[in-house]
């Protein structure tokens, strides 16, 4: 009895004053593939941090909350983490729509946010004046910069001129669509179709019919994982003759690579398990050891890097004072599975992590994602279907 009491007291003492990080993720709903991948990344980082002595001499604590990929659910979950659970810092954040929704309470409570996703420019606008907002994921214009670079290569090498665009009608797809079209035109492409769709509806018949009539060289779509298979199915069924189908969902459906309809569809990723950097190899080995498999979703290593750098900054600051932690995190210069991470200004925010140069282009070939561009990382030649 005494022993049990003593253990309880010791546990209570060890927990007292521990740093708590709230993690808001889409563990369900349309963004859940990214959210679940990120959760594993956080758990792996948490293990390593606590094995190495924790933060400020105590085990780091994580409080996970599911935003359900829905702004309406994200706001109360965020407020609960900040006001009831009294977390010291917030991490996570995948969806742009949920991130915009919580921008009000985040600024109201002065919450420190180390944010991994939410690439849409309206998020950047919403957090432009928030002095504790650290954004790890490239903003959508950095994504587009990488895509435009790749398409310019296709224009030279494959004579690709005509682009058809399909985009989801939420902030992720719609926010930058006018700039996207303008930039394609400025780069000498003909934008032969620009069509909206409702993500998750699966009703792509009319869009593909219109694309077929427009005869594009590249079919470019911006949506979520739920749209990938219905689009691929409709493209195949209507026999859309196109050089390349290129999608930019934050994640792809589980098992999509094994479906023959995925063959030759290309996409963008910050990371692949085959990435050659030493930090990537270390991450893959650690992930495999903990979970028994390896993920291809880049939100897992992104979350891992997010928590590791945040923990290092808290230790560096010697406490949880937000200004000191912000100064320490801003000074980050560390190797990661994506390449070196430093923070610099973006168009509107103070602390931006990864940028255009970190993106890889891959193509589904033979049951896996094969890097095809930039050429220095390409493992196989790209398949052009025209």
């Amino acid at each position: 009895m005494k022993k049990m009491l003593l253990t309880g007291v010791l546990l209570a003492l060890s927990g007292a004053g521990a740093v708590k990080v709230g993690v808001l993720l889409p563990l369900s709903g349309s963004g859940s593939v990214s959210g679940q991948a990120a959760r594993n990344g956080y758990l792996l980082a948490l293990d390593e941090i606590n094995r190495a002595g924790g933060v400020l001499g105590k085990p780091l604590e994580l409080e996970f909350a599911d935003d359900g990929s829905s702004p309406a659910k994200a706001v109360p979950e965020f407020v609960k983490l900040v006001t009831v659970d009294k977390v010291d810092f917030m991490a996570g954040g995948v969806s742009s729509a949920t991130s915009i929704a919580i921008s009000g309470p985040a600024k109201q409570y002065g919450t420190f946010m180390a944010w991994i996703g939410a690439a849409a420019v309206p998020v950047e606008d919403a957090f432009a004046d928030h002095k504790y907002f650290f954004h790890y994921h490239p903003w959508s214009y950095y994504n587009f910069e990488a895509i435009l670079g790749y398409f310019k290569t296709l224009k030279t090498q494959k004579k690709a001129r005509n682009i058809a665009i399909a985009y989801e009608d939420g902030p992720f797809g719609s926010a930058g669509i006018n700039d996207t079209v303008a930039a394609f035109k400025k780069a000498g492409f003909n934008v032969v179709m620009t069509e909206k769709f409702k993500t998750g509806s699966g009703n792509f018949g009319p869009i593909i019919s219109k694309a077929k009539a427009a005869r594009p060289d590249i079919f470019y779509w911006v949506g979520y994982d739920t749209d990938a298979l219905p689009l691929a199915t409709e493209i195949k069924q209507q026999n859309l003759q196109v050089g390349l189908v290129y999608g930019t969902p934050p994640s792809w459906p589980v098992g999509f690579e094994k479906n023959q309809l995925a063959d030759n569809i290309a996409g963008l990723s910050l990371w692949l398990p085959s990435s050659p950097q030493a930090e990537s190899r270390k991450f893959v080995a650690a992930y495999r050891k903990k979970f028994g498999n390896v993920t291809e979703e880049y939100f897992a290593p992104l979350a891992y890097v997010n928590l590791k750098t945040l923990a290092a900054a808290i230790n560096g600051a010697g406490g949880t004072d937000k200004d000191k932690v912000a100064a320490a995190l801003a000074a980050t210069n560390t190797p990661t599975p994506f390449g070196p991470l430093t923070f610099s200004k973006s168009n509107k925010t103070q602390y931006q992590g990864f940028k255009a140069g970190n993106w890889l282009h891959f193509q589904f070939q033979g049951d896996s994602r094969v890097p095809v561009y930039p050429i220095k990382f390409a493992q196989k030649p790209m398949v052009w279907n025209k």
């Binding site: 563990l27 369900s28 859940s32 009608d169 219109k210 459906p253």
Partner: protein, 286 residues
């Protein structure tokens, strides 16, 4: 002109899935007299069963179709026995709250057991199509349309040519009167609700092939099914097919010919519900 005919064809094929989902819902509304807000979640069960059988046992979705129908029929019958029958005489609001709660329960059980990930099924015929000149007819959607037509014809035959069907129609018209002439009303309700859920599962199988399986996949189709049964008239099975065609074709036309139509297509069913209700009230007031 090809684009116009392809658009009509796209709408027509899409309506097959809508009709499959709506026929089950129409049965529950028409016979049992309950608006089942958990109908989409029974579709989700069918989709996940298909995914599970295909992924772990290599069973083709078309083979798993009868298995899913029977399994979800059983779940539906059990649901009726455990919960639905107890609220049949309660105010409609209570009935709606119960089925709404059932939907949330099933969705969250799926989330807990399977996670929120989007799961896909792989088949050899997923991308198959038939070419009609420049037009293209997708194989799985054609199958769905065929199933919908066959199932609605079958349901019609059962309702108008069999003893069980006559009992269902009698119970739908007058519960008390049916009891007085010796019909086992409870048994009829159980079968009708079970069949309704089984039909949702059949739609779920085809949704898994065409789209994906996820805990929330049923919601989109359930909303469309509500629009269809409102257009067809509550409980009117024969009206389901044409109402599905109206919805499917309207959505396709909006998507193709209205600027930014992809964003507006989900508003079509609201517009159709509104137009139907206004038309009915106008006709009723004369």
């Amino acid at each position: 002109m090809d684009l116009f005919f392809q658009t009509l064809l796209n709408g027509l094929l899409q309506s097959g899935i809508y009709a499959l989902v709506a026929s089950g819902l129409a049965l529950a509304v028409g016979v049992v007299g309950i608006v089942n807000f958990a109908h989409g979640e029974f579709l989700m069960l069918g989709a996940f069963l298909t995914w599970g059988l295909s992924t772990y046992l290599g069973v083709d979705p078309l083979v798993s179709l009868p298995l899913a129908a029977v399994a979800v029929f059983a779940v539906g019958a059990l649901t009726y026995r455990v919960s639905i029958r107890h609220v049949l005489l309660a105010p409609e609001l209570n009935q709606m709250l119960l089925t709404f709660g059932l939907g949330i329960l099933l969705q969250n059980l799926a989330l807990m057991l399977l996670g929120g990930n989007t799961r896909t099924v792989t088949t050899g015929y997923q991308g198959s199509s038939i070419s009609l000149g420049e037009l293209s007819v997708g194989g799985p959607k054609l199958i769905a349309f065929g199933f919908a037509a066959a199932i609605l014809a079958g349901l019609y035959a059962v309702l108008y040519r069999t003893t069980l069907g006559r009992q269902m129609r009698a119970v739908a018209q007058n519960r008390r009167g049916s009891q007085l002439i010796g019909i086992d009303v409870d048994r009829v309700y159980l079968i009708a609700f079970g069949v309704s859920c089984g039909l949702a599962a059949v739609a779920g199988v085809l949704v898994a092939v065409l789209l994906f399986a996820s805990p929330t996949v049923g919601l989109v189709f359930a909303l469309k099914a509500f629009a269809i049964i409102v257009m067809a008239g509550l409980g009117n099975l024969t009206g389901v097919l044409w109402a599905s065609v109206v919805l499917g074709v309207s959505e396709a036309l909006v998507q193709t010919y209205v600027p930014g139509g992809g964003g507006w297509s989900d508003a079509v069913f609201f517009l159709l519900i509104f137009a139907t209700l206004v038309f009915r009230s106008f006709r009723g007031s004369r």
